[in-house]
Assembly symmetry: C2
Homo-oligomer: 302 residues x 2
């Protein structure tokens, strides 16, 4: 029997990446489609995939790792849809419904960060773990993960970027840019927050710019909170900010300093450089995450 | 076949409560033993239980819900022990080892809050849920819970009381009493923190004392963080502070205000009084939690 062909759809705010691959993580074909309206974008996604299926053979399952908020719970009446979002035109967009109408095969639908977490678990930096989180810090900040080997859902899904952290207005008078919460973690530490505070894009700031000390401080406060709340076995950082490898040692030191030896684990006390790590799959985390979701859909069907 | 007899041990910082019961939640015998040294306390626990076993018949499983930090992971070399703690004499106390030497039956060992969460899941305020947290606010602040129907562990276990939250020193100049973190959540909002800030025990403060508005504010900040991090389907509050029923409406309003309609769930937007609730088992949460752990040990053995 030939290796089952799986479909990975990474739905992002600016583009959808569609890929065809298999359970080894191999990508056979890939395409980028701009995120415009749901019907145009999904129409082009479907057209691309139908063309690939004619060429490569029948698909067996689809994984969709999408921007949120979204409803990932199959038993829910709004399953498969985008929930109310400031993104024009996308509130209530029926992602799974549209894709399922074109392909009558199993689909798994989850957040981009849960997808990335599953990809890291299968092929990346979380292979031997049962409880860990994946956090992306870029245009926005979001987190997902596995707890006891299962993806995090609950009421809806985590919104880790929106926790409140201490904000010393004397040290940092910037008021924050989150439209809902102003100075939540995302409002203080996302890429656009860095740009608004310092007047230039984060990626143009040199490694010795004071922006990075402050950024490492906010990231460390948030990670310490996740550690106390969830007790993850590892924290994986993805997104644009995680490419700034020079801030990892600062984050490590600050997390240790904030926790102040309260949590007596060798991973935190002695091996923190292996505890808070960059994404193992790098740029591929999103699409391989969607592929891992497709693999999960395929396994459930068996 | 007769109903299996189960043992519940609730290990607290001031007393150990030992009970004999069964899977319906019925308690047949109970005793309070002061927490002194590990060998004296556990010796008296064992003596009481051996006496009860002669009277009531053979025990089938034991659940131990204990103060922490502790090691709840059976595969770990320090499983069953108390981890480094400021509590004199208890660091490395081998709780499971001592009890297992006296009773050769299955044992489940977990934190007091994970025990309480499991009890609430079986008999209390979390019966229909798969993902929720139980938070105790009293002498200390601690949290546990179930995620996808499994108790939270991970690296060690959650230490939810030690998250950092915004602290406005102008509104509240009190610097916090946590010996590790000063103004973490526990340092600002535990019973001893309330007493240190206002100069009198929390339970003697009248409902219109400004202490409660501040307390509700800190609790709401912490709960909003747990909601963003974990997406629980419900939050159950136990411990001494949760007996102050007048603060629940303040907590509800503040959580809604902090989240600011970002999480579009009817449970938060419209039914928050059923979302953040007092412990269903009240004073019995601890011992019934240990009994639920015993039931789990018994089931695993089957």
């Amino acid at each position: 029997m030939s290796i089952p062909i799986l479909v990975a759809i990474e739905g992002g705010g600016t583009k959808f990446i569609c890929a065809v691959g298999n359970q080894t993580g191999e990508i056979l074909a890939k395409n980028h489609i701009p995120t415009t309206t749901p019907s145009e974008t999904l129409g082009r996604v479907i057209a691309f995939l139908q063309e690939q299926e004619r060429e490569l053979g029948q698909f067996r399952a689809i994984g969709i790792a999408c921007f949120g908020p979204l409803d990932p719970q199959p038993a829910s009446p709004t399953y498969g849809k985008i929930l109310p979002t400031p993104k024009p035109g996308w509130t209530n967009a029926d992602i799974v419904g549209k894709i399922q109408a074109a392909f009558d095969i199993p689909i798994t639908f989850d957040t981009d960060v849960n997808g990335a977490a599953l990809g890291e678990w299968r092929w990346g930096a979380a292979r031997e773990l049962d409880t860990f989180i994946y956090l992306t810090i870029g245009t926005g900040i979001g987190g997902g993960g596995l707890i006891n080997n299962q993806l995090m859902h609950g009421l809806i899904h985590p919104e880790m970027g929106h926790i409140r952290i201490p904000h010393d207005f004397e040290a940092d008078p910037f008021e924050g840019i989150c439209p809902f919460h102003k100075d939540c973690f995302e409002g203080l530490a996302s890429g656009p927050a860095i740009q608004a505070r310092w007047g230039q894009p984060a990626e143009t700031l040199s490694p010795d710019h004071p922006a990075w000390k402050l950024e490492a401080h906010y990231i460390a406060l948030a990670l310490a909170n996740y550690i106390c709340t969830l007790s993850p076995q590892r924290i994986i950082l993805g997104g644009g900010v995680s490419k700034q490898t020079h801030i990892f040692p600062q984050i490590h030191n600050e997390v240790q300093s904030i926790l102040n030896k309260y949590i007596q684990s060798p991973q935190i006390l002695a091996h923190i450089q292996d505890y808070i790590v960059p994404a193992g799959l790098g740029e591929q985390a999103g699409v391989l995450g969607a592929l891992a979701l497709a693999q999960q859909a395929f396994n459930v069907k068996l």
